[in-house]
């Protein structure tokens, strides 16, 4: 009876659908432009900003602003903690699915 229920492994910060999607999209480790994330996840600028703020506060992603010619661009990367959090969340979700089956 020492087995912990998979729901214990779910992290509220990561579990939200859009935030899980952001981390999954960034998982390869490269920096992805703000607009590309917004388009892939079909979010508005405001929505994406809010989700990124939550992830940045939890130190799961980092963003940098690039200024120069043309419009300034914001590049977002996943942190090592973000990779761990994503993998832990997916493991917990898979365990939950297995338990339900």
């Amino acid at each position: 009876m020492s087995d912990v229920h998979p729901t214990v492994g779910l992290d509220d910060t990561v579990h939200q659908r859009s935030r899980l999607g952001i981390l999954a999209l960034l998982r390869s480790g490269v920096a992805v432009e703000f607009g590309a994330i917004r388009d892939e996840l079909r979010l508005t600028d405001g929505n994406l900003n809010r989700h990124l703020k939550v992830l940045e506060d939890a130190r799961l992603v980092a963003s940098s602003r690039q200024t120069g010619r043309g419009r300034p661009k914001t590049w977002v990367t996943i942190t090592a903690a973000g990779v761990d959090a994503l993998e832990a969340e997916l493991s917990a979700l898979r365990a939950l699915i297995a338990l339900a089956e």
Binding site: G21, A24, V30
Partner: protein, 181 residues
């Protein structure tokens, strides 16, 4: 709900990997231009035909690759400017090294430049297949300089062209979701 979340996350992870695998383009472009240089030199059949071919294709390749990367919405984790600077320095050092290696002969220098440039790319994009291509290019250029076979250009062009095409194929397969299951 959980199944849907996992499915969405997997799909987005795959999409992210596809965005993160752009090195296939310069690899494919390089291998095709290198392989095409052999028949092009034979067809032109003039003095320094290969030289004229590369005088045209080198700037065209730079412009085409620059355009391709500038349109990508995913960038290497380090600053792009740093990658460009590192690539330039590696190319300069590599082309200078050939003078010491082959006693003043510069005909292998372009291959060292290509190899050094792709070595920086491989590090920036964390691409093993690009690293293999860079190592094969550098290794072949050095070996040919030391062994000095009859058809120096043909040997290097074939090795670089074929390895480049295989590396481009490997880069495209890198985006295959099965690989990261």
């Amino acid at each position: 709900m959980a199944r849907s979340l996992v499915s969405d996350a997997e799909a987005l992870r795959t999409r992210g990997w596809r965005m993160a695998s752009p090195v296939w383009f310069p690899l494919l472009w390089t291998s095709m231009t290198v392989l095409a240089s052999v028949p092009a030199a034979l067809l032109l059949d003039g003095a320094n035909a290969a030289g004229w071919y590369w005088a045209v294709m080198a700037p065209v390749s730079a412009v085409v690759s620059g355009w391709f990367f500038s349109t990508r919405r995913a960038q290497p984790p380090v600053r792009v400017g740093l990658v460009v600077l590192a690539t330039g320095l590696a190319m300069l050092l590599a082309s200078g090294a050939i003078v010491w290696l082959a006693d003043g002969s510069w005909d292998m220098a372009p291959w060292l430049v290509v190899g050094a440039g792709f070595a920086v790319f491989a590090a920036a994009w964390r691409s093993a297949s690009t690293a293999v291509f860079a190592a094969a290019t550098l290794g072949t250029a050095v070996t040919v300089s030391l062994v000095d076979p009859d058809d120096r250009y043909l040997v290097v062009a074939l090795v670089v062209g074929v390895v480049g095409a295989l590396a481009a194929l490997a880069e495209l397969v890198r985006a295959d979701p099965e690989r990261r299951a």
